[in-house]
């Protein structure tokens, strides 16, 4: 992957020239650009433009800074599932500093970072995983004998783009959970003079990271984001609206205990504490580890890890949403449960699947309040629905 799967570049080569030298056909390249359009959620009609833009890209320097964190985000990147996207990206970039993978250590590692920052000032992409501890005068994290905060500020000063990858860089994640003993904060709390794109998740799916970088290289700007700085192409949709178990939610078929009959039939995990109704994440679409499965797919309720402060707002994890402060779902859910106890279960479920599809076509509004639960349809709504079809 990192150097590994990549076919090295000669100096000053553009991607177009590079691919030609590598023997990648125009057709294969366009196919890749088409796939990229799908991941980024832009129209397929833009494929030629994406291709044209990408062709002109020159290999950028990437500095990957690991602060207060667990290395799960780097590990996740190592599992990039789509070989096309992963290889092309990692072929595209020069990873000039990464603690976990780089050969050099100590002064030599510091030196590699300083060189990359100097030679690519104003242009390099800074990927940050991990949070910044501010308590105790910053002494809960030192690197090369310097405070983590100072290292971050220096690296961000001349970065062309800053990506905060993972829940730690997003908002501080687990170490910032109450009572936040180290005063951990996210990258955007420190880097304020330029936009910070947040790739949320604990960890995020690797493809989200790579797609964002490719977006930046392709369009020469960062993707559109929601209020949390999360790219809309990945975080614009709620899990609950894309969930493979949604039909069971709508049909009132809930797992009531792990490994019960419902669980053995793949029913909805809402009663087990699923946070899918409040979580915006590409999990159900991108899935994990080469599209093998995803948390809800494997029977565990969603923890809500792409949402700010989920360690406090989404816990206890196994309590169903209404018990979590700030959510008002219970009445709706009970209402639905009652409504569905009637005879029309199958019909409503079919309707729900249909609306789910409409919804995903329409896109999304980030930060929509609470859950938009289907209600038993009125004749007026029904006719509207039919007009759609």
């Amino acid at each position: 992957m990192f150097f590994p799967s990549s076919y090295p570049w000669t100096e000053n080569e553009t991607l177009g020239e590079h691919l030609e030298r590598r023997g990648v056909s125009r057709r294969a390249f366009l196919k890749y650009c088409g796939e990229l359009a799908v991941v980024l959620g832009v129209s397929q009609a833009l494929t030629p433009q994406i291709a044209e833009a990408l062709q002109k890209v020159r290999r950028p320097s990437v500095i990957w800074l690991q602060l207060q964190e667990c290395t799960g985000c780097v590990e996740s990147t190592l599992r990039t599932s789509d070989p096309t996207i992963g290889d092309l990206l990692l072929d595209l970039i020069s990873l000039d500093f990464n603690d976990t993978l780089m050969a050099a250590a100590g002064d030599a590692a510091e030196g590699a970072m300083q060189t990359a920052m100097k030679e690519n000032a104003g242009k390099y992409i800074l990927i940050v995983t991990g949070s910044v501890p501010l308590a105790a005068d910053g002494m809960y994290l030192t690197m090369g004998g310097r405070r983590g905060r100072d290292v971050l500020e220096e690296a961000a000063a001349n970065a062309g783009a800053v990506l905060a990858v993972g829940a730690c860089a997003h908002f501080g994640s687990v170490q910032s959970a109450k009572p936040n003993p180290t005063g951990a904060v996210g990258v955007a709390d420190i880097v304020k003079d330029k936009p910070v794109v947040t790739i949320a998740g604990c960890p995020p799916i690797a493809d989200t990271i790579t797609a964002t970088v490719v977006h930046y290289l392709t369009f020469n700007r960062l993707p559109e984001t929601d209020g949390e700085g999360r790219p809309l192409f990945a975080y614009g949709k709620r899990i609950h609206d894309q969930c493979s178990r949604r039909a069971h939610f709508d049909a009132g078929q809930y797992v009531e205990a792990f490994d019960d009959e419902g669980a053995r039939n793949g029913w909805c995990l809402y009663e087990m504490g699923c946070k899918g109704p409040e979580t915006f994440s590409p999990c159900p679409i991108f899935q994990w580890n080469s599209h093998t499965s995803w948390p809800i797919g494997s029977g565990h309720p969603c923890l809500g890890c792409t949402e700010r402060n989920f360690w406090d707002t989404m816990t206890p994890f196994y309590n169903r949403l209404p018990a979590v402060a700030g959510f008002g779902v219970e009445r709706n859910a009970d209402h639905i449960g009652l409504a569905l106890a009637g005879a029309a279960v199958a019909g409503v479920a079919a309707h729900a699947i249909a609306t789910g599809i409409h919804r995903s076509k329409e896109g999304h509004t980030p930060h929509e309040p609470a859950v938009d639960l289907p209600v038993v349809e009125t004749p007026a709504e029904k006719s509207k629905e039919e007009r759609h079809d």
Partner: protein, 571 residues
């Protein structure tokens, strides 16, 4: 005396600083300092114990299952929960695959570059490389064409001038001993291992939804089994699991293990370097009937070895684990001289080091965020070497066979294991044992399922209404990097105290009140060379042989921790 600082130590998890004093090409004194603190245990207080696995899992994303499992066990111990056998076997498989994958990544991606000179691979003859590889293993990718292609890719990479992660490596250092062909073979397998690890770890995704950070569950596993279901563990997913297990074993048997022995044969001098602390501790692991409380069912045994004496294995008793903080940036209420058992452990962070930027930490009384765990008041090495030694000394047949094979091929005796090379070899031996054993566990699971015993979860004590008013539990785990323990106290349905004693805390521990150094430090002071203080390759070899995981090592704490967080900055 030359003072040498290596900070950051790269190719590890987390933030580690090593300082040494060297004279005449030898290391005379060493200090290991962990430079990050996160405070996860304090955060657990007042929370639902069923959530603890998710919090503690985030201690580490490299060994991403181990804290979650230890936490589930601790809570299950406290609440008296038995995991049904099928659920327990799924855990054994998940943990087993984790260790296999983790060890392979460690060897190729974190450790190999200490022994393998990437630049020298450019000089290799691909034909001779193919012959070398074929003489070691029947692995299909042993052709001249294959190695030519890898070499060409490497060449244009180096020509491009953008070396990426290979920039500033200590290439050409005289301590690199492999011939160019062996270097090329290892570089090729570095690349192959990247694809391999991505594939085999999907076992986690099927059973637990994702990796890193798969989902666990107190009382079992959330993935229900229904062979006819579409959204459950079914015949199709089981056959995928079976394929991954086979692929895992083949790679370990035909690539990792032969590579390891081939590389080791050029570095036999490292069998006399870097031993260090002569005491080894293993907690036992891989319950083959799924019941982690059943010591008999553990594939690898537990036990303690003192003073490199392989004739005696002492039974492990968790009551004898205690932690000092005399050299760590913490306070104890009773002062710095005492050692506390984790069940009554305290962690009050109190930084007293110099004002950054630091020049040297050596000479400071306190110099790290690691505590100093001791067993029976002695420092202990934990990890694959400790487990292999305990198993070997206990007469564990599979271990005797595999370790015996390695010793025979390298023509060295068991004493060679107490070294940097021994540590690296033991990790490979353990991987081979586990990669072969996965099939046994898989078969045990399938047999259960066939007999209709598909329960993966125990509902009995799920609801807090069924819990005692107060409870206390201990969960251990033979994690990839070594013995792991979680201690939990629960009151009125909430966690009131939580402590972890973690592999890297054992290994990276600082000096204790008796002045005894921890395993990293002791290893660096054991007959340890350092030819060029500006290019401290040898230090990396020994430190990496432990597979450090710093985020794991620095955890913490109990209720008192949040009260006092003072910083005394020294000049």
């Amino acid at each position: 005396m030359t003072k040498v600082v290596v900070d950051p130590i790269t190719r590890i998890e987390g933030h580690l600083r090593i300082e040494v004093e060297a004279d005449g090409g030898r290391i005379k004194n060493a200090w290991a300092s962990s430079t990050q603190f996160r405070g996860i245990e304090i955060i657990l207080e007042g929370r639902d114990p069923r959530d603890a696995w998710a919090f503690t899992q985030r201690i580490c994303g490299v060994c991403t299952t181990v804290h979650a499992l230890a936490s589930c066990r601790a809570v299950e111990d406290a609440l008296g929960i038995d995991v049904p056998p099928a659920g327990g076997l799924i855990r054994t498989l998940v943990h087993g695959m984790q260790t296999v994958q983790d060890h392979v990544i460690h060897f190729y991606h974190l450790h190999a570059l200490d022994w393998v000179d990437v630049v020298s691979a450019l000089k290799a003859d691909p034909g001779a490389t193919a012959n070398l590889a074929a003489s070691l293993s029947p692995w299909p990718n042993n052709s001249k064409t294959y190695f030519t292609e890898v070499q060409n890719r490497l060449k244009s990479f180096v020509d491009s001038g953008q070396l990426g992660i290979f920039a500033n490596g200590y290439w050409g250092h005289p301590a690199y001993k492999l011939p160019p062909e062996a270097n090329l073979m290892a570089v090729a397998h570095y690349l192959e291992a990247l694809d391999w690890q991505r594939d085999v770890i999907r076992l986690h995704t099927i059973f637990a939804g994702k990796n890193p950070h798969p989902n666990f569950l107190v009382g079992g596993m959330a993935s229900a089994i229904n062979l006819d279901g579409t959204a459950t563990i079914n015949a199709e997913s089981l056959s995928k699991i079976r394929d991954m297990i086979t692929r895992a074993r083949l790679f370990v048997e035909q690539v990792y293990w032969p590579d390891l022995l081939a590389v080791a044969s050029f570095y036999k001098d490292w069998a006399k370097i870097g031993g260090g602390v002569p005491n080894y501790l293993a907690v036992g692991e891989y319950p083959e009937n799924g019941n982690w409380r059943d010591a008999e069912s553990m594939y690898l045994p537990s036990g303690v070895i003192f003073d490199n004496d392989l004739s005696t294995v002492v039974p492990y008793d968790q009551e004898k684990v205690k932690e000092y903080i005399n050299a760590s940036w913490y306070d104890y209420k009773e002062g710095d001289k005492v050692a506390l058992h984790p069940s009554v452990g305290e962690t009050i962070p109190h930084y007293t080091g110099p004002e950054p930027p630091w020049t040297y930490l050596q000479g400071e009384e306190k110099y790290t965020w690691m505590k100093a765990p001791r067993y029976d008041d002695k420092p202990m090495e934990v990890g694959p070497l400790a487990r292999m030694l305990v198993a070997y000394a206990s007469g564990h047949a599979d271990t005797k066979e595999v370790v015996g094979e390695a010793l025979g091929r390298l023509q060295v005796g068991p004493a060679a294991l107490f070294s940097t090379l021994g540590r690296t070899a033991a990790r490979g031996a353990e991987t081979l044992l586990l990669a072969r054993r996965l099939e046994t566990w898989y078969d045990a699971l399938v047999t259960r399922i066939k007999s209709g015993d598909t329960a993966t979860f125990s509902q009995k004590r799920w609801s807090p209404d069924t819990w005692p008013a107060s409870a206390e539990g201990y969960g251990f785990l033979g994690a990839a990097r070594g013995a792991l323990g979680h201690w939990v106290k629960i009151q009125d349905g909430k966690i009131v105290h939580y402590q972890c004693v973690v592999p890297s805390t054992w290994n990276c521990s600082p000096r204790d009140v008796h002045g005894a150094t921890g395993p990293y430090e002791a290893a660096l002071m054991d007959n340890h060379p350092l030819a060029d203080p500006k290019r401290p390759l040898e230090i990396l070899r020994t430190i990496h042989s432990f597979d450090p995981c710093m985020a794991c090592g620095v955890h913490v704490l109990d209720a008192q921790g949040r009260e006092v967080t003072q910083v005394r900055v020294k000049g």
